[in-house]
C-alpha cells in the first residue's frame, strides 16, 4: 500500500490526497422550502465552531458543500444560483485558509491541516475544471421584472480556481 509519508513532492502528495478526498452530499438545494432553515443552521453552527482548527474544519466543510451545490446547479442550468453558490464556496475556502494561518500563528502544528487543505484545493480545481468544460463562457440572464445582465461564468470559475491555487 502506498504510504503518503513516502511521497516527497508536494504536488504529487496533494494529487494523491485529492484522489482520496471525498466531497460531501450537498443536502438540501436552493429552491427547497427548508433551504433557508439549513442556511440559518449553518450560520448558527459557526458560533459552536470556536477555535482555529474547529473553524477551519467548519469553513472547509461549507466550501465543499457549496462547491457540490454549485456543480449540481450548473448541471440544471441554474446559472445565477450556481454562481452564488460558487461565491459562497470561494468565501468559505478563503476563510478555511485564513484559519489555518491563524492556527499557525497560535503555535499549532498545521502540517496535517495543510495537507488536507491542499487535497481539497486539488479536488475543488478538478470539479471546477470539469464544470468549465460543460458550461458556456457567458450567459445572458433575463430576470422577469428587470434588465437582462451578463453572467461571466468562465471568469467566475477561473477566479475560483486561482483562489484554490495558494502556496
Amino acid at each position: 500500500m502506498l504510504n503518503i509519508g513516502s511521497i516527497k513532492n508536494n504536488f504529487f502528495k496533494a494529487a494523491f490526497l485529492a484522489v482520496v478526498y471525498v466531497l460531501p452530499y450537498p443536502g438540501l438545494m436552493p429552491g427547497h422550502h427548508l433551504y433557508p432553515v439549513k442556511q440559518l443552521f449553518d450560520q448558527a453552527y459557526a458560533y459552536f465552531a470556536f477555535g482555529s482548527f474547529a473553524r477551519h474544519k467548519y469553513e472547509l466543510a461549507l466550501a465543499d458543500k457549496k462547491l457540490v451545490e454549485m456543480k449540481v446547479l450548473f448541471e440544471y442550468r441554474q446559472y445565477l444560483l450556481a454562481l452564488t453558490a460558487l461565491d459562497q464556496s470561494n468565501n468559505h475556502f478563503q476563510k478555511a485558509v485564513d484559519f489555518v494561518v491563524a492556527a499557525q500563528v497560535q503555535g499549532k502544528n498545521i502540517q496535517t491541516k495543510m495537507a488536507n487543505l491542499q487535497a481539497a484545493a486539488v479536488k475543488h480545481q478538478e470539479v471546477l475544471e470539469s464544470v468549465m468544460g460543460q458550461t458556456p463562457a457567458d450567459f445572458w440572464w433575463q430576470p422577469e421584472k428587470d434588465e437582462p445582465r451578463q453572467l461571466a461564468i468562465h471568469q467566475g470559475l477561473q477566479k475560483a480556481i486561482s483562489i484554490r491555487q495558494f502556496k
Binding site: F50, G51, N109
Partner: protein
Amino acid sequence: MMKVIIFVWSLLLVIFSYGFVEHSFPLPTPDFLFQLIHTHRGLTTLIYIILVFGLFGIYFYLLRRAKQKRITVRQTWSFVILVSLVLFFSWPAFSHDIFNYMATAKVTFFYQENPYLVMPMEFTGEPMLAFMHAANKFALYGPAWILLTAIPHFLGWGNLILTVFTFKLLILGFYLALCWLIWKMSHRDHYALIFFAFNPLVLIETLVSAHNDVVMMFLVLLAFWLAERRQRFWGWIVWLASVGIKFATIALLPLIIFLRRFKRQKWFVWSAVAMLLVFLAAPLREEIYSWYWIWVVSFVALIPQKRFFRWLAWAFSFSLLLRYTPFLYWRNYGGLTPMVKALTTFVPPTLMLIFFGWQKIRPWHHA
C-alpha cells in the same frame, strides 16, 4: 486495628496500581512491579482478585458493625477519610478515562478549541498522544464536566503527573461530598454512608480510576436535596448540571417532574430502577462499564432496608469488578475476553436473582 487493616489494604492496592503505568508515560515503574504485571499475568490476576476480596471483607465487616451500631460517627468518617487519602495516591490502573478528561481539558483550555469538533489526535506533536487510548474521539462528556475540568487543568500547570493528581483531587472532593450528602439524606445513618463509601466498586472506580460518575451523582442528589427544601428552581439548575456531566441522569426527568407525587423512599427506589435501566441499556451504545454501577449504588445507599436492591448492588459490584480479570490475564480485548467478561458480569447477579426467586416460592413449596 481496623484503621491499620484499611491503611495496609489500601496501600497494597496503591502499590499494585503503579504496575499499570503505561510504558510511554513519563513516570518510571519499579522493575519488580513491571515484571509482575507484564510477565506473571496469572499471579497479577490472582493478586487483583485477592485485593478485591479483601476490600469486600472490610466492606462487609464495617457494614456489620454499623448494623450492630458498634461504630461511631467519628470512626466511620475517619475510615472514609483514611481510605480516601491513601487511595488518592493510587495510579488510575484499570481505566484510561482520566487521560481522556485531561486531553479534553487541554483541547479546550490550552488549545482553545471546541472539544466536540476537534480530537486530541489533530494536534500533531502533542505529548499526551503517546499514551492516550482514545485520541481519535471527540469529547464524550457533557459541557458541565468540561467546564469543571478547567480547575484541575490549570492547577496542573502543564505538568502531566501533577495534572493526573489534580484531576484525582477533583474526583476525591466530589466523592467526599457525595458521601456527606448520602449521610445527610439518610438522616446520618452510618450504614448508608458505609454502604456507599466503602463499596469496593465505588472505591476502585472513583478513588483509583478517577471516574467522574460521582460528580454526576452528587449533583443529582443535591438537586433532590434542594427540591426537598422547596428550592425547586435551584434543584432544576443543579439537575441540569448533573445531566451536563455525563447525560445519564436525564433518565430521571419524569421522576423529577413528578417528585411531589412520590414518597421519599419510593422516589429513591424508582430512581434506582431508572438508573438500573440506563445501566442495562449501556450495551446499545457501547458496553457495560463497571463504573456505571455507581449510578445505582448511590440510590441504593439511601434505601438499604430494601433487601433486594441491597443484594443486587452487592452482586453487581462484585461481578463488575471481576470484569477486569480476563483482561488482566490475557491482556487483550479479543479472544475469550468478551465471553468471560459477560459471564463474570451476569453470573453472580443471576445467581442472586435465582436465590431471591427461590426464597419467594419457598412458602408455597412448604405449603
